[in-house]
């Protein structure tokens, strides 16, 4: 968690570091085997992720999209004029939408599930603007210059994935698992040097991470081709590894 370069490796891979930082990181890589190994693992993930094809939508989700849009439509038609949709937020964070800015709300899997969602999302926006403003001439000023202008766009259906991965197939995840086992063992040995309250906090945080990892694994088992889930699982495991490193660092420092 504390190695400033570890968290900038992905920027380095993306070519997003400035010249100075890039030079400093490369100098750091010469001396840091862990960062070098992590960078190698990241490169493998990127290479594998680039080889992934997105999966086509499942037909079952389409009915959900239609139902929700129709429900929005019925609700909108039953209301006279525009209403304010209140999204409760934190103090200091603006939390009201303008009357003409009706909220579009769909589940991401639903939206992502059908290429035709492109059309319906736009049609929904158009309908909302029209129904609240009365006529199409006000649409641009109400919904922005592009609102409702994409109804003719064709849906994009991608090919089935040519590669199927499971989370545990990823070399990086295997490395993480090995590293996590080692770090957990080290923490078991060294945690006596930490205050009991600190150990309890760490254990609690590790339980939170383990729960997230298990949920990600379960989702990945159901959708093994998902690049998002693979990345999410890898990132969550990396965070567990970082926390364990951090805990071991302090356990060692206190000894």
């Amino acid at each position: 968690m504390h190695d400033e370069w570890t968290e900038r490796l992905s920027e380095y891979l993306d070519g997003a570091l400035g010249w100075d930082d890039q030079a400093r990181l490369e100098a750091h890589l010469d001396d840091c085997a862990k960062c070098t190994a992590t960078l190698s693992g990241l490169r493998q993930v990127v290479a594998r992720a680039d080889g992934l094809e997105d999966q086509p939508p499942t037909r079952e989700l389409w009915s959900g999209i239609v139902e929700r849009i129709e429900a929005e439509s019925r609700a909108g038609q039953s209301r006279a004029g525009g209403d304010v949709v209140d999204i409760r937020g934190r103090a200091g964070v603006r939390n009201e939408l303008r009357p003409w800015q009706r909220r579009l709300s769909f589940s991401v899997p639903q939206l992502a599930a059908a290429g035709i969602a492109t059309i319906l999302m736009s049609a929904g926006a158009a309908w909302i603007a029209l129904s609240s403003q009365g006529d199409g001439s006000e649409l641009a000023s109400a919904g922005g210059p592009d609102a409702g202008l994409v109804a003719n766009q064709a849906p994009r259906i991608v090919a089935p994935p040519s590669v199927t991965l499971t989370g545990t197939d990823l070399p990086l995840i295997t490395k993480y698992e090995t590293a996590i086992e080692d770090l957990e063992e080290a923490l078991r040995v060294g945690e006596g040097n930490l205050e009991p309250e600190t150990v309890a906090t760490l254990r609690h945080s590790l339980a939170v991470i383990d729960r997230a990892i298990n949920e990600a694994r379960e989702a990945l088992a159901a959708d093994p081709g998902s690049a998002y889930l693979n990345t999410h699982l890898a990132n969550t495991m990396r965070r567990k590894m970082d926390l364990l490193r951090y805990a071991n660092y302090f356990a060692t420092a206190q000894s």
């Binding site: 968690m1 997105d54 603006r94 303008r98 991401v108 492109t118 081709g225 302090f250």
Partner: protein
């Protein structure tokens, strides 16, 4: 100037010892302080002096002050084991601070230099800071306001709140919310596992904004004229927006992307289980 100075505290009968010293410092001097247990309060002032006041809750404890190069080092020392020490310190506003603790709360006010704070059990509050601002704890809340520079904040089990900040922000917690309000930044990374993330701030062309949680909501409030390519990902959650959007692409069953304006910034909003909101300011 300080040389090596051990301040053995002489009040043998009092349960709490007190020390108070003031000394002049140079413009490039830094302060490094280690306090195992207690509190550290630092306030910036318009003098080229450092004043250190400490209440030591142990008659066998003392402070070690020495100067090495441009670094003034203060450490708490114990004969038998650590006890509570509460520091109240005044420093030149531009002085760089490097503060470490274990069971230690740290509060900084009106500071204007680089800041590093590391503690294990303790909350951290920073008002000000300029340049590299690194604050890390394991169990404790982090609150930062009016900071300018590159902010890195992490805690394992509590919230992180950063307000009125200018510069890159990297905020990470495992169980807690991340609130980024009134932020002007070209790069933001907010990550939690069990908690919400709120961002209210600018979106610069070429900027990168990544807000991720596992179990929680993500809410991003940005200017109506923002130019961003937005990627939204969720396994089991809703996406809401008041922007007129055109879904450009979808990836697998869980991600979709669209473009606002010229799309010159990158925004990634992810939650495994929670809702995502993209809202106009």
């Amino acid at each position: 100037m300080l040389g090596t100075l051990a301040l053995g505290l002489l009040t043998a009968v009092a349960p709490v010892q007190q020390m108070d010293t003031t000394f002049a410092v140079g413009g490039s001097d830094r302060l490094e302080l280690h306090n195992m247990e207690g509190e550290i309060r630092v306030t910036g002032w318009n003098r080229n002096d450092v004043r250190i006041s400490a209440d030591i809750d142990d008659e066998d404890g003392y402070l070690s002050l020495n100067k090495s190069g441009s670094t003034i080092k203060v450490k708490t020392k114990w004969k038998y084991g650590p006890s509570n020490v509460d520091f109240v310190i005044s420093v030149p506003k531009s002085m760089a601070l490097n503060l470490h603790g274990v069971s230690t709360d740290v509060y900084l006010e009106d500071v204007g230099g680089e800041v590093t704070v590391e503690t294990i059990e303790g909350e951290i509050g920073v008002r000000g800071g300029n340049g590299r601002i690194n604050v890390h704890t394991v169990e404790g809340e982090i609150v930062i306001r009016d900071a300018r520079g590159t902010i890195r904040a992490s805690t394992a089990e509590d919230d992180i709140t950063i307000t009125n900040a200018v510069g890159e922000i990297f905020a990470e917690t495992f169980e807690g919310d991340i609130i980024l309000d009134d932020v002007d930044s070209r790069q933001v990374q907010g990550s939690t596992l069990d908690g919400d993330i709120h961002y209210n701030g600018t979106v610069h062309d070429g900027g990168r904004y990544r807000l991720t949680t596992h179990d929680g909501d993500v809410r991003m409030v940005i200017p109506a004229n923002a130019n961003a390519t937005v990627v939204v990902a969720s396994v089991d959650g809703d996406f809401e927006t008041d922007f007129p959007i055109e879904v450009k692409d979808y990836h697998g069953g869980h991600r979709l992307s669209f473009v606002l304006g010229s799309g010159k910034a990158q925004a990634e909003l992810e939650t495994f289980d929670g809702s995502i909101q993209l809202v106009r300011q």
